[in-house]
């Protein structure tokens, strides 16, 4: 019963990159429709944590479950299953520059899910409307601004109908005047669609307004997590206080 409401469970997850311990026995649970914001200094393991959720990084020890299914490093099928349930948005957008916006969104549907082109486009059109870019359907990514690119990337990730969206610093590479249009789209996703999201971000104001769980990480450990009002504005731990003083 209660499992139906849990999208992600990470238990005792550790991950090492040669000499650096990127994740150190991390535990995290994400419930349906929950918006989790992860903050922390660079190199604290935020991105690695996110990338362990969809198997872009495989854990050294501990377990990761998505919708009740374990990601098994030795079982490629379990990794593909995890990626079917997740959508990811990257800091550098990573749109495919050689195909049009519409094809960026439909390619995975057509080539991975084997949906015919026409039906795939029927899925893509409402998503383009959702990110306010229907008029850019037939242009190439290089003709778009950074904010537009990131909105296309969000539509592309949504196309495969994920149960959770992972955002890896989605606004860090954007000019200041373009940040809002991306945050607005993310806000809509949370409020109108009740999308489950895990966001690595430095936008404190945004984090406070959108998150129902804030997580502070440092040196691969979760130092503090809980109500964003407390973690982001009234932290209990010294390390969190120090970090927040530096960035605000």
């Amino acid at each position: 019963m209660k499992n139906n409401n849990i999208i992600v469970t990470m238990e005792n997850v550790s991950k090492r990159f040669s000499s650096v311990l990127a994740l150190d026995k991390v535990n995290l649970q994400v419930r349906k429709a929950q918006v989790v914001v992860i903050v922390g200094p660079s190199g604290s393991g935020k991105s690695t944590l996110l990338r362990c959720i969809n198997g872009l990084e495989l854990v050294d020890s501990g377990t990761v479950q998505i919708n009740g299914q374990y990601i098994d490093s030795h079982n490629q099928t379990s990794i593909y299953t995890a990626r079917e349930h997740t959508g990811m948005v990257f800091q550098q957008f990573n749109l495919f520059p050689h195909i049009k916006v519409i094809d960026n969104i439909t390619l995975a549907l057509r080539k991975v899910k084997k949906i015919p082109k026409k039906q795939a486009e029927e899925i893509a059109i409402p998503l383009l409307k959702k990110v306010f870019l229907l008029d850019k359907k037939n242009v190439y990514p290089n003709e778009l601004s950074g904010g537009q690119k990131q909105r296309v990337a969000i539509a592309r990730a949504l196309a495969v109908n994920p149960s959770i969206m992972l955002f890896d610093e989605p606004t860090s590479a954007l000019d200041p005047e373009m940040i809002k249009e991306v945050l607005d789209v993310m806000n809509d996703l949370a409020e109108k669609d009740n999308m489950t999201m895990v966001i690595v971000s430095h936008e404190m104001g945004f984090a406070r307004s959108i998150a129902n769980l804030a997580v502070f990480m440092d040196q691969g450990k979760i130092i503090e997590s809980g109500n964003p009002e407390i973690v982001l504005y009234n932290p209990q731990k010294e390390r969190t206080k120090k970090f927040l003083e530096h960035i605000i």
Binding site: N54, L56, Y80, R83, E84, T86, G87, M88, F90, Q92, N94, L95, F96, P97, H98, L107, A108, K111, V112, K113, Y140, N142, E143, A153, R156, A157, V160
Partner: protein
Amino acid sequence: MASTIKYSDSTLIPSKENKHAIFAWYLSFFSAIAITMSLVFFKPDPFQEIIWFVSDGIIRTFQITISAMFFALIIGFFSGLGQIARNRLLNTISTVYVEVVRGIPLLVQLMYLYYGLGKLLSIGELPAAIAAISICYAAYLSEIFRAGIAAIPKGQMEAALALGFSRKKALFYLIIPQTFRMILPPLGNQFIALLKDSSLVSILAVSDLLRRGREFASVSFKYFETYTLVALIYLIITLFLSKLVALLEDKFSYEE
């Protein structure tokens, strides 16, 4: 970090931005054509005769170039994939192939394949010539394919994987199509270089352009006239091809 210099190691492929190179191209191309035409029209003896004599050699040169490029592209493509493969064995085979073949001069490879292996296995001179050039150029093309794939940002593969693509599918649908646009200029350069190197097959008694010229000259003793014309024909062909590659490059680029 040391800085590197930019230079062209083959026929100049004129790019739009480089006005000097474009001027140089026009100057050489149209001068070559003008000189050839006037030689043939105003001095038909011996130039018209030479043209007639070597014309089947031009066709043979194209035959060798196009078939060798075709096989080199196929072998080079798979070898390039092998060079980036995670499979240790495939990787080693491809990398050793590239290193060994690039370390031996094409002329030596031609002699080896025809006089060495060819005599043992009774391969004719034309197949031996095409095989030797294909094997040699495939090694250079392999390196181009490898570098092209390596030049695609890592995020492209990650985005594809995150969308559910397998590594192979991502390579096939997303990485390789992007690579082709990037490697078109070096591939074009190699094609032109191959055409020029195809003249080496004349030592195997393959009747290409150079060989036909040699035959004509040794009978008529008109060495100067014959080799002048042969050189002009090679020049016109390579300059024409370099322009063609530049146009293709323009057509397929999406940078802006």
